[in-house]
Symmetry: C2
DNA sequence: GTGAAAGCGCTAACAT
DNA sequence: ATGTTAGCGCTTTCAC
């Protein structure tokens, strides 16, 4: 035994393994393996005996070893961006919610989830859980700017699905909300409430936000309202962004009677800031947010917003990835978005 | 080659592996292994050559194989309860936030996280990631009622750390907030604001809530105020719970001028419900919540609450677990809680 | 400094 | 129906 250590390492090596069961049962490892995986090649009596033994010895199969041998596993990699510049901390309610939805969808199907955070700039690291053989594929949650790098990964054959907008010449699969119609719904709702000067809060360098802006413009056009570039404030998704955006609007001295904010957090910050300026929502300014995070309903005034179907998204991200892993196609999908009417834009 | 399949399986087996690098470099696998793990046993020249080759071939070591051989890994299991009765969906902002904090703490230390959801009743499944050799230890996030089962796991030698209250005769490590002082801080703050009839919203069957209730009673006693059992409403942590609790109070026809709610969500629901009854917060009723979730500051009125130090908790859960894995002791810890004064209890 | 070979804990031909 | 044996992709003695 060349590799056996002189003594038991610290407290390890207590773990009972298949050979122990085999010895105790007086059979070979192969039989134990078969019994434990319900192979028809083993007699009912033996199977029962072995299973009982395994249970009483608290044996659980070593999955890493099995995976190595079978070249397969039931683990999918979920990667979240780690935006080194902006918020260090993973606390965005929407993405966290999405994470929960994906976790649920995986659990239901008997898959585990290996969660990693990678620098949003270093997208090539995203495939690491796959490359290192720990995951059968990758689900990306968050805002990923590196379109080209994701294309490379897909081209390399990494099964990968991302949450986000569908882009031209995209070789990877995305699952996203229908941002254009989301933007239209929000804007049309504000217009229907009699608002005419609708500000847009969001960074249109992000593909999803750009699409929402397109929807916003469409809705204005449909009602023969002008698109005033002064009303668009490019605000990053960081705490305090909503307050800044309102102040920017004030600084520009453009009149506005409504805001369409590209996240609920942004909307709430904006409402708070407006309140500080004695402009009440919805009386003086109508506001519509985006995402319908849990807290939107709890807010005062309850926030009208565009719901992204987070549960369906989790399911679809998972089923698409599993399809990809099976070598099948997985078309990119736009999930329908929905206007949730509450009080903030009445 | 008895096990080699007739043809390449679907699209797999493309993966370049160590033997490929060895062949290409004209050395043995052993040398490649050494070069890639910075062993001093290999010449600088060879190392450089091999590393370059590996990079150009996009080789990444297969971690599962390495782990199997080395009997060690850098993955920790994080398990979240899956409360089959109440909320199916993983969307509690506080636990999700905690999950984020743990993810960050692990990332910083170069560990990965294997996330699983298990039925809150079946706590013994919680050790599965460990038992199956996929994780070196387990971090439990959420409300775990099965004290005894967790003790069993710890007794079995599973390195395990849970978020939660410290209980008598506890053999596993917990990291938790200081709930007694949290309860006192909240209650004392309400008393200081002139409130005398303070309702308590929470299910004292949960250890953490029980401790908060103790703090509540302490604070009342310190100010020579009576503890009225009619003012305690046992409310589960489910959506709609806050509204129910307020209605229950009304049904009981007990007067109250303040509420201490055991979660921010509960507090917000309560405030909304009160508003529907034309009782304004803080004018008519003072409210203090618990957790200080991100949205507490955004709420209107901004919610006074007890902050649980979620970032520190994530760090501590991780360092404690890693200590345990190293065979060291990891004492249970109470993290200090903090009163965040905003407007809801002025 | 490098290679040969054994083996981590399991599975799957191939025997019997 | 069960046992034997040869690996999965890697690391690590041990020998040179």
């Amino acid at each position: 035994m060349p590799t056996s250590p002189p003594a038991d390492p610290p407290a390890a090596r207590q773990r009972v393994q298949m050979a122990d069961i085999a010895r105790a049962a007086g059979v070979s490892k192969a039989t134990v393996s078969r019994a434990l995986s319900d192979s028809p090649l083993v007699s009912d009596e033996t199977r029962a005996r072995i299973r009982a033994l395994a249970k009483s010895l608290r044996y659980t199969i070593n999955l890493e070893a099995r995976n190595l041998r079978r070249k397969d596993s039931r683990t999918v990699g979920v990667v979240l961006p780690f935006d080194s510049d902006t918020r260090r901390h993973l606390n965005d309610p929407f993405f966290l919610g999405m994470l929960g939805a994906v976790a649920d969808a995986l659990t239901v199907r008997g898959y585990d989830m290996l969660l990693t955070r990678v620098d949003a700039q270093q997208t090539d690291c995203a495939a690491q859980p796959f490359d290192t053989g720990r995951a059968i594929g990758i689900i990306l949650i968050g805002q990923w700017r590196q379109h080209a790098q994701l294309n490379d990964l897909a081209a390399r054959g990494v099964p990968i699905v991302a949450w986000g907008a569908q882009l031209p010449q995209q070789r990877y699969t995305t699952v996203g909300g229908d941002n254009v119609s989301g933007g239209m719904l929000a804007t049309a709702h504000l217009i229907a409430g009699g608002r005419r000067r609708i500000a847009f809060f969001g960074d249109i360098n992000l593909p999803e936000v750009a699409q929402r802006y397109r929807g916003y413009c469409n809705a204005l056009a449909q009602h023969a309202l002008p698109v005033d570039p002064q009303l668009r404030v490019s605000v990053p998704f960081v705490p305090g962004g909503g307050a800044q955006a309102v102040q920017e609007l004030v600084r520009r001295a453009v009149g506005f009677d409504a805001i369409f904010a590209c996240s609920d957090l942004l909307a709430m910050e904006a409402i708070n800031t407006l309140r500080g300026q004695d402009r009440l929502v919805p009386r003086d300014v109508g506001v519509v947010g985006y995402d319908d995070i849990v807290l939107a309903a709890y807010y005062h005034p309850p926030l009208s917003t565009i719901r992204q179907p987070i549960g369906a998204a989790g399911e679809l991200l998972v089923t698409s990835l599993l399809a990809l892993v099976d070598g099948a196609q997985a078309p990119s999908v736009h999930l329908p978005t929905e206007l949730i009417v509450r009080a903030s834009a009445a």
